[in-house]
C-alpha cells in the first residue's frame, strides 16, 4: 500500500558529523529507497571536496547527486581562479548562497559540512534546505532519523576525542540511530579527517 510522505523522506538516509581533537568525522548510511522499497544498499551520501573538506547530503537522492556535483564544480572553478582551496567557512557560505538561490524551488537536501581549518581545528556546520546555517562546535545531524541521532550524540559525545575514539563514537551513534528508522540503514560509511589524511571505513549494518 502506498502512503504519502514528505519529499524529504522519499529516499531515506542519515548523515552525521562530529568534531574531535584536531580531527573531524563525517558518516552516512548507505540505503537508497523509493519510500518503503529499498533500491540500493551502497548509496553513500558523503562527498569529498578536498582532503580537508567533506560534505554530507541527506534528502531526495536526485538532489543529493545534483547538488554534490554542483558543489564540486563550484569548488573546482574557485580553485582554478584563485589557486587555493576553499576553507570550510568559505565553502559553507557558498553552499548557503547556492541553496538560497533556489529559495522558491529548492534542492530537497539538508547538508552537513565537515572539515579542518587551516590551523588544524575541526569545523562542522549544517543547514536547512534553503541555506540557513547552524554553526556548532560538537556535532551536526541530518536525514530521516535526526531525533534518534540527536539522542545518541547527546549521550555519547565528549569533546576532544582522538581519531580512533571519534570513529567508535560516531559509528555507534549512526548505527544505533538508523536501526530504529525504517528508511535509513543497510550499512554505513565513516570518513575520519585528520591533518595526516582521511581514513574511510565501511560499517556493517542490519
Amino acid at each position: 500500500a502506498e502512503f504519502a510522505m514528505s519529499i524529504m523522506e522519499y529516499s531515506g538516509g542519515a548523515v552525521l558529523a562530529m568534531t574531535g581533537r584536531n580531527c573531524v568525522a563525517i558518516a552516512s548510511d548507505t540505503r537508497l529507497g523509493s519510500q518503503a522499497q529499498t533500491q540500493s544498499t551502497d548509496f553513500e551520501k558523503c562527498f569529498r571536496i578536498t582532503d580537508k573538506l567533506y560534505v554530507g547530503l541527506a534528502g531526495l537522492a536526485t538532489d543529493v547527486l545534483t547538488l554534490s556535483a554542483q558543489l564540486d564544480f563550484k569548488h573546482r572553478m574557485y580553485r582554478l581562479r584563485e589557486n587555493r582551496d576553499m576553507t570550510p567557512k568559505t565553502f559553507s557560505a557558498m553552499l548557503s548562497n547556492a541553496l538560497y538561490a533556489k529559495r522558491f524551488g529548492p534542492y530537497f537536501c539538508e547538508p552537513v559540512v565537515a572539515g579542518l581549518n587551516a590551523d588544524g581545528s575541526p569545523f562542522v556546520t549544517c543547514m536547512d534546505l534553503i541555506g540557513a546555517p547552524v554553526d556548532t562546535d560538537d556535532f551536526c545531524v541530518s536525514g530521516t532519523c535526526t531525533e534518534n541521532m540527536y539522542a545518541l550524540c547527546e549521550s555519547l559525545y565528549r569533546p576532544d576525542m582522538e581519531p580512533d575514539d571519534l570513529f567508535e563514537t560516531i559509528s555507534q551513534c549512526l548505527l544505533s540511530a538508523v536501526d530504529r528508522d525504517a528508511l535509513s540503514g543497510w550499512g554505513g560509511v565513516v570518513h575520519v579527517i585528520t591533518a595526516e589524511g582521511v581514513t574511510t571505513r565501511r560499517l556493517k549494518g542490519r
Binding site: 557560505a93 557558498m94 548562497n97
Partner: protein, 242 residues
C-alpha cells in the same frame, strides 16, 4: 581595363573597434593607450611590508575644490586603486569593481583577494573591446592589495590585459618614471621607504610646487586595510624628505 588591387592603409581600420588592422592591431585600443599617456602621472610600489599607490592631482584651476577630486580610492576594505587617463571612465570602473567585490562577499562571506578584483575589472575592460557601439575605457589602473601570498600590485590596461608589478608608473612621462623606479626599487624596501620613493618619483617633472593638496597616496599592509593618507599624513612625509 585592369583591376588593380590597392592595399588599404593601416589607419583606415582605426574607426571600427571591432575590426583588426592588417598588422593585427585594434587601433582603438592603441588610441585609448594614447589617452592614458595624456593623463597625469600615477605609480605604485610593492614593498616588503606594504603596497603604495600615488598620483599627481594637478588641477586645471586653483578654484577647484581639491577635496572633491578623488583619484586614489578604496574598492573594498583591503584593496585600493588609482588611475591615469579619463576620470569619468575611471569612476565607472571603480563602481563596477566595488559591486563585484560586494557580490563576492555575498557568496563567500570573505573579502575577494586583490587578484580576483583585478580579474573582474580586466574582464569588464575587455568586454568593451569586443562589443558593438562602445569604445574602450580611456584609463589604465593600478590596483593595490594584500593576498594570502603577500603584497600585490597590478596594472590593468584599456585592452583588459593585466600585469603584476613590483613597481610601475603610468600616464605622462611614464617611461622616465619607470626608469627612476627601476633604479630605486629593491626587494628589501619597507613601506616607509616606498612612500618616500613614490613621492620622489612624483616630484620628477612635477610642474610647480608639489604639496599635500596636489598629490594623493594610498597604502595597504599585511593588516589588509587599505587607507588613503590624509593631507596631513602626506605633509609629514614631504617634510621628512626635506
Amino acid at each position: 581595363a585592369e583591376f588593380i588591387a590597392t592595399k588599404m592603409s593601416e589607419t583606415a581600420y582605426s574607426g571600427s573597434l571591432t575590426t583588426f588592422s592588417p598588422s593585427g592591431k585594434l587601433l582603438q585600443i592603441q588610441y585609448a593607450l594614447a589617452a592614458v599617456e595624456q593623463g597625469r602621472k600615477s605609480l605604485g610600489i610593492a614593498a616588503r611590508d606594504g603596497v603604495v599607490i600615488a598620483a599627481e592631482k594637478k588641477l586645471s584651476s586653483p578654484l577647484i575644490d581639491a577635496q572633491s577630486v578623488e583619484k586614489v580610492v578604496a574598492v573594498n576594505d583591503s584593496t585600493g586603486c588609482v588611475y591615469s587617463g579619463m576620470g569619468a571612465d575611471y569612476r565607472v570602473l571603480v563602481r563596477h569593481a566595488r559591486k563585484k567585490a560586494q557580490q563576492y562577499y555575498r557568496t563567500y562571506m570573505e573579502e575577494p583577494p586583490a587578484t580576483q578584483v583585478v580579474r573582474d575589472v580586466a574582464a569588464c575592460m575587455q568586454e568593451y573591446t569586443q562589443s558593438g557601439g562602445v569604445r574602450p575605457f580611456g584609463v589604465s589602473m593600478l590596483v593595490a592589495g594584500w593576498d594570502d601570498d603577500g603584497p600585490k600590485l597590478y596594472q590593468i590596461d584599456p585592452s583588459g590585459a593585466y600585469f603584476g608589478w613590483l613597481a610601475s608608473a603610468i600616464g605622462r612621462n611614464y617611461v622616465d618614471a619607470k626608469t627612476f623606479l627601476e633604479r630605486r626599487y629593491n626587494e628589501d624596501m619597507d613601506v616607509e621607504d616606498a612612500i618616500h620613493t613614490a613621492l620622489l618619483t612624483l616630484r620628477e617633472g612635477f610642474e610647480g610646487e608639489m604639496n599635500e593638496h596636489n598629490v594623493e597616496v594610498g597604502v595597504v599592509g599585511a593588516d589588509r586595510k587599505f587607507r588613503v593618507l590624509t593631507p596631513a599624513n602626506v605633509r609629514d612625509y614631504l617634510d621628512e624628505a626635506e
